[in-house]
Assembly symmetry: C2
Homo-oligomer: 137 residues x 2
DNA sequence: TTTAAATTCTACCAAAAAGTAGTAATTAAA
DNA sequence: TTTAATTACTACTTTTTGGTAGAATTTAAA
């Protein structure tokens, strides 16, 4: 019952970027330091985020990354989907094969409601949740 | 957002055992076949379940395993705890360091309620949920 | 035009989880 | 007492995830 580190970092990176004005150009170096993520691993994730069209990259000197969409339009669910953590909402919990309502796994009925609540939460939470205050980065 | 395979199997094994009368002696071979889990991997998990005192082992010929407690008293949460998946309910979601209410991660407030619902669900669901019907094993 | 500061690419290494193999130990039946 | 059926133990292999190294590419500033 955990998100992968990659997803966790992606969420933290994007929400951190959302704290600055939209045009701000974020550099990997800066992000890695601020978020305390290894520079090498961070750049790997940045590349993924570019491919996922969450961010734009500006190459070369004075380059960096910008959000590609308004922060208020990027949900946590969007991020999780891109890192394939959505599938868990389909084949979930005991995940024995494809889900078939005629042959449910034993937890299905109990799990349905929490699962929906989580999904809603992820779907309605955007990366601009926080712009100030004592939050971890 | 997934349980480990080990946890999934453990849940399936115990709930399967709970379908028989309490005294029934389950053999690894039988369980592996019925549940379609590799025999070798299953026996590894059975050893863990013995150590966790979920089941009793009877060694030697005609040996096998029995539930160590009434099925109605073993919760899913008990099982997850033993396989260390409980920690996620403390250090959860973005899991950056120990949780400090004065320095929350950005998802804390949104996550609190779904998390509680999941935990309650796991805490109130016992392995005897199902004794018949078209359920996956 | 050269150079420095940045992203990108390719390839590798490490750790954890999942799964397998083989053998030793145990015990009841034959 | 021998043997077959079972669990327990030790050690390995494979797969996935997490993480690192180094060079190539791009681009604006100097
Ligand atoms: S039966 Fe329900 S709980 Fe089980 S894997 Fe399918 S969707 Fe998930
Ligand atoms: S602040 Fe809340 S959501 Fe974040 S890791 Fe701690 S308990 Fe989990």
């Amino acid at each position: 019952m955990q998100l992968s580190n990659t997803s966790k970092y992606a969420i933290r990176i994007l929400s951190y970027m959302a704290r600055q004005e939209h045009e701000y150009v974020h550099k990997s170096n800066e992000l890695a330091q601020s978020l305390d993520i290894s520079y090498k691993f961070l750049t790997k994730i940045m590349t993924e985020l570019v491919k996922g069209e969450f961010i734009l990259s500006i190459r070369g000197r004075e380059g960096g990354f910008q959000l590609n969409h308004p922060a208020s339009s990027i949900t946590i669910l969007d991020i999780l989907k891109h890192f394939q953590e959505l599938t868990d909402f389909h084949t979930c919990i005991l995940g024995n094969g494809a889900c078939n309502p005629h042959k449910k796994c034993i937890l299905h009925d109990k799990w349905a409601s929490p699962r929906q609540e989580i999904k809603n939460m992820f779907a309605t939470t955007t990366i601009d949740i926080v712009n100030s205050g004592d939050f971890k980065l």
